[in-house]
Amino acid sequence: MSSNYLDIIRPGINTTFQDKGRDHLYHIGIPFSGAMDNRNYLIANKLVNNNLDSAVIEFAYQGPHIKYSGEKINFAVTGDVIFSIKKKDTEIKGKCYISYQIENGDEINIISTNKSVYGYLALGGELDLKFQWNSCSINTKANIGSNDGKKLDIGQRINLKKINSNKDIKKTNYINTKIENIRVIKGTNFDYFSEEGKKIFYEKEFIVSKLSDRMGMRLEGPKIENIVNTNIKSEGLIKGVIQVPADGNPIIMLSDHGTIGGYPKIGVVASVDYDRLVQMSPGSKIKFKEINLSDAETLFKLYEMETQNLLSQI
């Protein structure tokens, strides 16, 4: 029986354990999964002195309300998140990007993500979770990963295997930036679409639909007309691929996507913009901007350097 644990008073809407994800499994139909917003995942772990590939609690929109039991431990929340910390009779408003210390009986109440989708809660220690294919990431569709591949539920208890001895309080001044344009690279079926359709894709605004989740982001807006074939022979997908089915509304593949798809690919989101794309909540406006491969590679390199720089300063 572990003496350090969390009790879930309220699970939130879509709360899962996530880590770096799992690779080398597309060919059997298992997607990458892992934390949606990789930069915020890494920062959360660094703020509590964890290894950068440790498991965290990912939540979307409304987060979990948790009661902690055990010896002193640090925690941190990243993203654009509203939360509070309850200690005995006082409740304080929490701030993202700073670690806090909690002790036996304290509660963390993650109320919501603010005009964004995903937030991360990292605890300074090691959660006692089942690993499948070197990852504890929960894939609720295939029921793979920790927690029997299911979302966190009310009344659940999560044990900690170990607590970090380094309990230094850390902080960073990171601010989540929003981008108006999502940069994309031309897809392999770009020429399936009419001249008008291509123009619409790059010039018009699309709205993120409510039917978006860890698998995909559906967009609404002007229809993109296909003039060749609304189906292709099924072939592999990767995250960021923008497929346009017969109804003309684009769908962007996200981290839990099906590994094979049969709709034409009009574009692929540049890796540099993925973390910010997944944070666009339903109702947000999206505009696509075309870039070429070499610019996409350079931009990602700069983004990655910035991430490493941020982490090294924590």
Binding site: H24, G29, Q132, W133, N143, K233, E235, G236, I238, A296
Partner: protein, 224 residues
């Protein structure tokens, strides 16, 4: 042979083997897939073989399009490469409890239930690829007169084990999932088992599958 290599976004190679769907092209894809997988090139994190394409995705922090392309262009694919394919018998029950789309198939194919089953059962199918959902095999080819389109409106929930048809292919829903294929029966076998990490898929690309009919009683007693 790969006819063309292009980029799919900034973190994947799109290897095109042509537009036709047949066993010989697909066997080429599988040969490439197996050879590349064994070479363990630093940075490649996924390979997705399909009918006539191979997508190679990589970690942009470790490598890039130019490096992976060069590696693929210079790879030596051995013709003698063993595919290790298996022949598998899959029990399927086509009782009315399971064959949800038999009436639709009778109408579209203009064939009786008996004829449809006769055409479908006891024949060898080739596994072209697995995926979409974990472990789902795409098996072909159905006879010309057995080819039906997807449902106009896909089902929100297709039961686990459903054996279903679309165009020249049959597949098996490895767990409950949305789907639009024509359901002909159900297998009591576990086609995907995530507890077997080294071999979660019963059926793999290159394997041969034969469907054998079982009765409802045999179905019910199968896992006992």
């Amino acid at each position: 042979m790969i006819k063309n290599i292009s980029n799919l976004g900034d973190a994947a190679l799109y290897c095109d083997f042509g537009n036709e769907v047949n066993k010989s092209i697909n066997s080429e894809v599988i040969k490439y897939f197996k050879t590349i997988k064994e070479k363990k090139f630093e940075g490649i994190n996924n390979l997705t073989p399909s009918y006539n394409k191979l997508i190679i995705s990589y970690d942009l922090k470790k490598t890039n399009f130019k490096e992976v392309k060069k590696f693929i262009e210079n790879i030596n694919i051995e013709d003698s490469k063993k595919t290790n394919s298996k022949k598998l018998e899959i029990p399927v029950c086509c009782h009315e409890n399971f064959s949800m789309d038999i009436k639709r198939l009778e109408k579209i194919l203009k064939l009786s239930r008996e004829k449809i089953l006769e055409n479908f059962l006891n024949k060898e199918y080739f596994c072209y690829m697995t995926g979409f959902i974990a472990g789902m095999p795409f098996l072909g080819d159905l006879d010309e007169n057995m080819r039906a389109q997807r449902l106009e409106t896909p089902r929100v929930k297709v039961p686990k084990g459903s054996v279903a048809l679309t165009e020249q292919f049959a597949n098996i829903y490895t767990f409950e999932s949305p789907g639009g294929w024509n359901i002909l029966g159900n297998t009591p076998l576990d086609i995907f088992d995530s507890s077997k990490e080294d071999k979660p898929n019963l059926i793999n690309p290159g394997d041969i599958v034969i469907f054998k009919e079982i009765s409802l009683d045999q179905y019910k007693n199968y896992n006992e």
